[in-house]
Amino acid sequence: MTRHEQGSAASVALMLIAGGFIFLFAPTDALQGPVQRIFYLHVSAAIAAYGCFAVVLIGGVVYLWKENAAADRLARAAALVGLVFTTVTLVMGMIWAKPIWGTFWTWDARLTSTLVLWIIYAGYLMVRRLAEPGRQSARFAAVVGIFGFIDVPVVHFSVTWWRTQHPGPVVLNDALPPRMLVAFLITMACTLVLAAVMIAIRYRIEFLTDQAAEKVVAPIVAQTRAGDAR
């Protein structure tokens, strides 16, 4: 098995363990019933998504500063994975909201900013596809990634200032019973490992793609240089 296959197997196993904690270890919520179990993966996926986008931000800043191709590849990989986790967050949130709030969607601050997050990074991936590959696409994407990351808290704040109904941060407020907290922390750790493994695999794919593009040219250049020497 390659390193990436080992990583995949390990993260699948970890997610199954997390599932065990969510369904077998954590108690059923007195008010919300079994639906509350969505919370563990929902919040973990959201944190993983924010983590991915933080990587996009850092990768973008490092690229603009040092023109380091690896930083750009890392940003590219993290953007895609982050988008996947944002999708998971949104879908699971909507499934939870239907029985609890009686509606799939409401224009609450956290929902709105998560949706905006999704749209911004979908735009990020579009820029990558439409800009000239290489320097231009890396620079433009870095700018989009930086503005996107800054805009999300701004959107969140501006909507909060207006109206909000999303549950507050229960974890930080110390409002979670101990067994639920344990299940949550384990799910979060496992999800973060999964995200890291996904980024590593995606990074490898981006690396090989870049290399393939490079290979088309390298031999021609080498050949011409040899010809000049003669």
Binding site: M126, F147, V155, S158
Partner: protein, 221 residues
Amino acid sequence: MRSITIALAVARKDLASEWRTREIVPALAQFVVLALVIANFGFQFDSRNAPAIAPGVLWMALVFAGLVAFGRAFAAEREQASLEAMLMTPAMPAAIFAGKALAAGLLLVICEAVLLPALALFFAVPLTFDEVSAVLLATVGMAVLGCLFAAMVAQVRARELLLPLLTLPLWIPFVVVGGQAVQSAMGGGGTATGSANGLLLDLDILFVVLTSLAARFVLDD
């Protein structure tokens, strides 16, 4: 100092071109009036729901007029191949960007001078100082963000598609806060306009600083 001279020269050049060709402003003014006509039929507007609907109509018209104005500001430079000619000088890209954003923002302000009275006229809502100040403050931030991404998409394929995709999410804070301000100014209730304008000013400062830092990555090859 030199940067300010350059920014003003770029803005003056754009405004002079627009004054002579009258390409953008008449089309945009017509567009916003049409948007009001369509909204009137779309919303089944009457005198009771006007204060609730009018702010939304205002921001929809403004946002789409803005997309056209800012997209055009850089599309013209690209078609004429003059953007490159500007960049092939020692002038700071941030100064060139500031000039473009200033001119495009002013064109949108002219368009607002048509939109706001037309809204007051057709929808029988009051035209107040608070409403005007909120719209003008939002225009500043929308112009710098819109022009940054317009400069970007002018250099890539499928630019008509990409500009709204990148710009609209970043404009949401301006629409949320500005919309709130306009709503309360029109008597639809909500938070006091003063605090909304303060917030819009903060957003303007944030994005003016950020876009001027980012301009050179978007404009300089």
